[in-house]
Symmetry: C2
Subunit: 247 residues, 2 copies
């Protein structure tokens, strides 16, 4: 007595992809049952797909039996032109920026209503930051996020402004306040945050233009912007222009 009653709209391929989607920052290692539950697939099916994915190298298996994302995915991911191209070009300028400011340097793009960090240079003894390369954060509480949001289509802005979650006591949660700031970002050419994402961390960020489109943002994280805002902005602007010219 065997069954067969697949849900509508789920091709075989998308099931394999659903399994990959089950992994995220909070779920880097999962057991068979976890994965089956999170991807909403029957155990037996999940088991077979996990086998195929592991054999190919998309997943690895830990000694504990848990599954994790494998090297092959990491590998192939680095062929993505947007990410890698931009990174490649920006890399030396990020180093220069770090050398000139000793602040944590961020290179980020927008994906939907989130910031995705493409690269990060972390100063050794500098402010603690939560960003990770490949990681995501909300658009409204980071320097690079505000820049990207200010240059995003209106509908994206509306979505984000409609759900401003509080992260620290300084996070901006009033749509009106943020909208005003976004207008200023366009006027002044840079965005700042003051402990809105992490207590003790302020940031300043500028857009990177490719031709006349904003494709990424470049930011610095420092303990305080007091007095150094213009100097940091100057360094950022030069770097962002140089990167943009080379795209």
């Amino acid at each position: 007595m065997a069954g067969n009653s697949r849900q509508a709209g789920t091709s075989v391929t998308s099931r394999a992809l659903a399994i990959l989607s089950a992994f995220d920052e909070q779920h880097r290692a999962m057991s068979l049952s976890d994965i089956a539950a999170r991807s909403d697939l029957p155990l037996a099916t999940t088991h077979r797909l996990l086998g195929e994915l592991s054999r190919w190298g998309a997943l690895d298996r830990l000694p504990t039996g848990e599954y994790v994302i494998g090297r092959k995915i990491w590998d192939i991911g680095h062929l993505a032109p947007a990410e890698t191209g931009l990174r490649q070009v920006a890399e030396p300028f990020l180093h220069d920026l770090y050398g000139a400011t000793l602040a944590t340097v961020h290179l980020a793009v927008r994906d939907g209503t989130e910031v995705v960090y493409l690269d990060r240079l972390r100063g050794n003894q500098s402010v603690p930051v939560v960003s990770k390369v490949g990681g995501r954060l909300p658009l409204h509480a980071t320097g690079v996020g505000k820049v990207l949001l200010a240059h995003a289509p209106g509908e994206v802005q509306d979505t984000v402004l409609g759900g401003l979650t509080r992260i620290t006591s300084y996070t901006i949660t009033q749509p009106g306040t943020l909208r005003r700031q976004l207008r200023q970002v366009l006027e002044k050419g840079y965005a700042t945050t003051r402990e809105e994402m992490t207590l003790g961390a302020c940031s300043i960020a500028v857009p990177i233009h490719q031709r006349d489109r904003v494709v990424a943002a470049l930011g610095l994280v420092v303990p305080s912007l007091k007095g150094s805002e213009q100097r940091l902005y100057g360094a950022l602007r030069v770097a962002a222009q140089s990167i943009g010219r080379r795209l």
Copy 2:
């Protein structure tokens, strides 16, 4: 009149994976027909699978109609623990190394008979290097490669020694010579190359130990090792030990 005669041993999932495998360093952007040819699948099937993969975000489509690896793969790849964990830990030490030496810094692991570069800090005006983050190079012609090869299982060594391809006129292609060097790597604790991969570039590299296993290699690329070998080795050893302790 439709047909259906699938080759044995090709599950649906592996067809989707075959498509992803069709992409590599030399083929970052391909048309439908290219992909179908390279993954040895019928056009119509490839077309449908490409559609599914694109819809999910595994692939993007350029304005020209060509397909490229999409951000989602890049994203998920960064959840791979081996790659990301090691990188995360090593990052600050790589910066220190760069600061201390101003040489190009490499962090790499072995995958089969190749080096995979996990991270690279490129000095601005330093020697040109061919490595890319996520890229692969042969084991026998790079500093990090020799280290990883020296600590690899015998069968891997045999395979590599059996096919030493020439890259520059200084590349070591005599199995005996290389085998002798590998023994020295184990004795001295570090490996060197002299223009074996790129003319005008020498390198020095050390292993990174996790408990008592060699999990990665750390290397520097400089115009010349003359006189600075011991100083560079010292800096590398300290960094590698610090990284190893934190794993």
